[in-house]
């Protein structure tokens, strides 16, 4: 019976891979490889298409499986994640999306480097963007590996390793052959599948309780073994003050990190105008918000119908809650309905991981080719060769991500995602906001803002209990854990903003009013936008 799940899940997943490969071939026919085409998909997507693609890029398997699992195990505390992930979009909508669309061409560094000395800033922002992307990428690869291990019903290490390699190889194919156009269509297909799956499961859960949310919550509380406490915060983050500070740190990183994620920012260049960028964010807020509302229902539904104890028994971090819920909703172990639903959920989770991985790979190959390589190449070199570099970079990043994904197989996925958000919020966001809104911002300020956030974030993680000093850390034998929190955001985000401010006020280079005027006029009106 387990084999039935597996065969069906593999079949559905192969269909998804075939369809997406078909899309890649279809959209890349007769396309000349211009940079506009490769990085921005020709800039002619509609707001609705881009809104779905943004939602597809953002809703990773960590949200689908991870958040519902956390809710199934810890009740209300899991919900805090969904709130943070959604509220973050207000930062993107109000402060970033339109201005970034107006000022930049392909990457985050375009915006920051628009008004100050280009080369050092491009190098700095390119470095931090690649760091963020690689962290996020490794999280997704590790997630894919453990998902396979779960579905194949054992801890089969070979299957896990081969999945990581396979996912990596597929994404290199999508990105280097299809560029932004193929990646966008894959995100759209995936977002539609994910939403459809979530709607179907939510409807089934609500039907079980005859649409009565109250009785859903009550039976979740009852079967969780925690009673009323299950519906209030504190089960996971309510212990010591370190745990509470850690959660505040994570909350800060979640809400401020989204606006600094390179693969999200690059999506705004696929639409023609800032107005279209705004409308695509409105679409994605609607999609992402309703998706996270549904994950809450699914999480409590899993607690009520499967039971927290059974979820925990299947996977200690709760990642299998939704597949188990699907099994129960379909009629239970051994039934046809259960088998089909379980396979569908598993295939959607695979598709999710694959699409997110492709999106991030594209963004990081753009950072490598457009920011890092372009700031070192000869000024006369053609754009065409830059796209060649980007394709090669996609392959290179694929190899790095596969290698790190294989090495980091036992790392906690949620932690890696939180870390990527923390680095994005501490290194990318200060430089971006300062360059958009601060008249006197200078080159030194930009460089200091990036490194002043990036270096503390990375160093604090190396000194945290994640790496050493506790039985669950990477190096249990050593104790270098000088910093008590797992998420560095609480310290490194203010550090990035502070460093940018100090760098600017101590800078001997006078601010250039004409450049600031140009940046401000362009960002608010769209004059001269690409």
């Amino acid at each position: 019976m387990r084999e039935d799940h597996q065969t069906l899940a593999l079949l559905l997943f192969s269909v998804f891979v075939a369809v997406t490969l078909g899309i890649t071939t279809w959209v890349s026919r007769n396309r000349q490889g211009s940079a506009e085409e490769f990085y921005a998909g020709g800039r002619l997507f509609s707001p609705m298409e881009n809104g779905f693609a943004i939602a597809g890029d953002y809703m990773s398997a960590a949200s689908f499986l991870g958040i519902s699992g956390l809710i199934a195990l810890f009740g209300y505390d899991g919900m805090l994640y969904s709130v943070g992930f959604l509220v973050a979009w207000l930062v993107v909508l109000l402060l970033v999306a339109e201005l970034v669309r107006n000022c930049g061409r392909f990457t985050l560094a375009d915006v920051v480097a628009a008004r100050i000395a280009e080369r050092p800033v491009r190098t700095a922002v390119g470095t931090s963007s690649v760091t963020v992307s690689v962290l996020y990428l490794v999280a997704q690869m590790v997630g894919a590996g453990s998902l396979v291990a779960l579905l194949l019903g054992g801890t089969s290490d070979t299957a896990r390793s081969w999945t990581v390699v396979g996912v990596g190889a597929l994404m290199v194919v999508y990105v280097s052959f299809g560029g932004m156009r193929a990646t966008t269509w894959i995100q759209i297909v995936k977002a539609v599948l994910l939403m459809a799956g979530a709607v179907a499961l939510t409807a089934l859960v609500l039907a079980r309780f005859h649409g009565d949310i109250n009785s859903l919550l009550n039976s979740a509380a009852e079967r969780s073994g925690h009673g009323r406490d299950f519906l209030a915060p504190g089960l996971r983050y309510g212990g010591s003050w370190t745990a509470r500070l850690d959660f505040i740190s994570l909350g800060l990183a979640l809400v401020l990190g989204t606006a600094g994620l390179p693969h999200i920012l690059s999506r705004f260049y696929t639409v023609p105008t800032a107005r279209a960028a705004r409308r695509s964010v409105v679409w994605s807020v609607g999609l992402i918000g309703s998706f996270y509302l549904m994950t809450i229902v699914l999480g409590f539904g899993a607690a009520a119908l499967v039971g927290s104890a059974d979820v925990r028994a299947s996977n200690a971090s709760g990642n299998t809650a939704v597949p188990l819920l699907a099994l129960v909703l379909g009629g239970g172990e051994g039934s046809t309905g259960g088998t089909v639903l379980f396979a569908v959920v598993a295939a959607i989770a695979f598709a999710t991981i694959l699409a997110v991985v492709a999106g991030i790979t594209l963004a990081s190959s753009a950072s490598v080719a457009h920011d890092l390589y372009a700031s070192f190449r000869r000024p006369g070199a053609k754009q065409r060769s830059e796209v060649g570099v980007a394709r090669a970079a996609a392959a290179g990043i694929g190899v790095v991500a596969i290698a790190l994904g294989l090495l980091a197989q036992d790392l906690n996925v949620a932690f890696l995602v939180g870390l990527a958000f923390a680095v994005a919020a501490s290194a990318n966001l200060p430089a971006l906001l300062y360059s958009l809104f601060w008249r006197n911002f200078t080159t030194r300020g930009a460089v200091w803002a990036v490194y002043g956030g990036l270096i503390p974030a990375v160093v604090l993680v190396l000194l945290s209990p994640i790496v050493s000093g506790s039985p669950t850390s990477l190096l249990p034998g050593v104790d270098l854990a000088l910093f008590p929190l797992e998420n560095p955001g609480l310290v490194s985000i203010p550090a990035g903003f502070l460093a940018g401010w100090i760098g600017t006020v101590t800078s001997p280079e006078p601010p250039d009013p004409a450049k600031h005027a140009e940046a401000e006029v362009r960002s608010l009106t769209g004059a001269g936008a690409a």
């Binding site: 209300y76 505390d77 919900m79 805090l80 709130v83 943070g84 959604l86 509220v87 979009w89 207000l90 930062v91 109000l94 402060l95 339109e98 061409r105 000395a117 280009e118 080369r119 050092p120 949310i213 109250n214 919550l217 009550n218 009323r228 519906l231 209030a232 915060p233 504190g234 983050y237 309510g238 509470r244 959660f247 505040i248 909350g251 800060l252 809400v255 705004r278 964010v281 409105v282 807020v285 609607g286 918000g289 509302l293 000024p379 080159t443 030194r444 001997p508 280079e509 006078p510 009013p513 004409a514 005027a517 140009e518 006029v521 608010l524 009106t525 769209g526 004059a527 001269g528 936008a529």
Partner: protein
């Protein structure tokens, strides 16, 4: 157009990767006066400066100031409000357990209501921002965009 103009300037700057302290101002005159005093004719630089003048002029125009004022008057209070509301929620969820656990109706407690309230305020603010931008900013910004592009096109030729 901007990019091509910039690439000439970048070519000179490429030799100087960290053009901060000692070379401040080198190769990038600050205003029209310095540009006029510069003996060597550098077409790319000159265009950049005249474009810079145009942008300064647009930046000081009442129409642009109005667009900027409308943008800031919505975004600054709205961003401050939702960030405070979110931070208050996160801090309350981690510290004020008794308050959050207080029942409201049936299984719903204060924490649930606050969490769903975050969703609701996010949706409402998204709607309000999109509406405000559409009604009060888009048209004026678009006019400024065409005007500015006309002016900078003149500067190139």
């Amino acid at each position: 157009m901007e990019k091509e103009a910039g690439s000439g300037a970048r070519a000179t700057r490429l030799d100087d990767p960290w053009c901060e302290a000692p070379t401040a101002g080198w190769g990038r005159p600050d205003g029209a006066l310095e540009a006029a005093a510069d003996e060597r004719p550098r077409p790319a630089e000159q265009h950049r400066d005249s474009a810079g003048e145009i942008y300064l002029e647009v930046q000081n125009s009442p129409a642009f100031r109005e667009v900027r004022r409308r943008y800031r008057r919505f975004v600054v209070p709205a961003a401050a409000a939702f960030l405070l509301w979110y931070l208050a929620y996160v801090v309350a969820a981690t510290t004020a357990h008794d308050l959050m656990a207080r029942p409201v109706a049936g299984a719903l407690n204060v924490a649930m209501v606050a969490g769903l309230g975050q969703f609701l305020t996010t949706f409402l603010l998204t709607w309000a921002y999109a509406r405000h931008a559409r009604l009060h900013r888009d048209r004026a910004a678009l006019e400024l965009r065409w005007e500015t592009q006309e002016m900078t096109r003149g500067a190139v030729r």
